[in-house]
Amino acid sequence: MSSSPGRDRLVASLKSPRSRGQITAALLLAVVGFASVVQVQSQERDNDYESMREEDLVQLLNSLAGASQRAENEIAQLEQTRSSLRSDTDSRRAALEQARERATVLGILAGTLPAVGQGIVVTVEDPEEQVGIDQMLNGIEELRDSGAEAIEINNTVRVVAQTALVDGEGGIVVDGTQLAPPYTLEVIGEPHTLERALNIYGGFVATIERPPIGGEVAIEESQNIEISTLAEPRQPEYAEPAEPE
């Protein structure tokens, strides 16, 4: 047997084309070829979504919606964080502002900051060199009593809470600095009140202008007194802040 009947039939059909079966097969094969080509081409032409079935599209849409939902949640959360950070910054800035203001006030009182303002200039002439710390302390106390906020003597010493006055040769020693008459006190405060405090009966002016001192006091009001001398800030060594009760 040289060849199988199947192969013979195939060769025979190729040689003698006319039969009903052949034509039918040709028709159906044409349909198959046409359909395959159309499908292949539409597959190539389609973008990703067009060829997807409905449920896949729905699933895709759902996942996209979920993703956008998550993104929106994240945006909301981040915005909340941002606003809380911003309000945090604001309150911190306000606190800082307040602290700075307080530091300024305290700095003027402690003599660590230069100060300007209205007040008086007191010039004490002392030809006999009789003015001592008694008179000077009295004067300073009277000035403080009437609301003096900053005091400077002879443009060289700033008078603060810790300032110490000692009698020295040819003048008084303030915080270790030898001063010589005439003394010039520059005081920032309410000018009238300060002047009245010094001129009180039996007060600073009266004591100095009376014998045995025999000096002379000139008081001059000024709208623009500049105090530029600074006191050395001292760290308390023994005192500690107590817990407020």
């Binding site: 097969a25 159906l28 159309v38």
Partner: protein
């Protein structure tokens, strides 16, 4: 001879016309093509076996295509369209392979 010509004509017509696949046909066409291919290979095998009958070919061709489309349609309605299509493709693929193996044995004796 004519059968091969028919296949060629179909391919050429498809290439020339380049028709858009209508939307309602889109899910069914791929499965239908595979089912038709199965019918074609089955027919070729039957022809080589000497039991080819054009009526059987036509009926099996049409029923294959229709059943494939029906399965896809049902699958879509039941919500398992993707899986069912895969299953149909697998079954048809196995049949095509076994038919081709038979054809090969006829032609090459191997």
């Amino acid at each position: 001879m004519i059968a091969g010509l028919g296949l060629l004509v179909g391919i050429i017509v498809g290439l020339m016309l380049q028709p858009e696949v209508p939307l309602w046909l889109e899910p069914y066409l791929p499965i239908a093509v595979v089912a038709a291919l199965d019918a074609v290979f089955g027919a070729l095998r039957a022809f080589l076996d000497g039991i080819f009958d054009d009526k059987v070919f036509v009926v099996s061709f049409i029923s294959n295509v229709l059943i494939a489309a029906l399965i896809v349609y049902l699958g879509d309605k039941l919500g398992v369209g993707g899986q069912l299509s895969t299953g149909v493709i697998v079954v048809l693929g196995i049949r095509i392979f076994s038919n081709v193996a038979a054809i090969r044995r006829h032609i090459f004796h191997a």
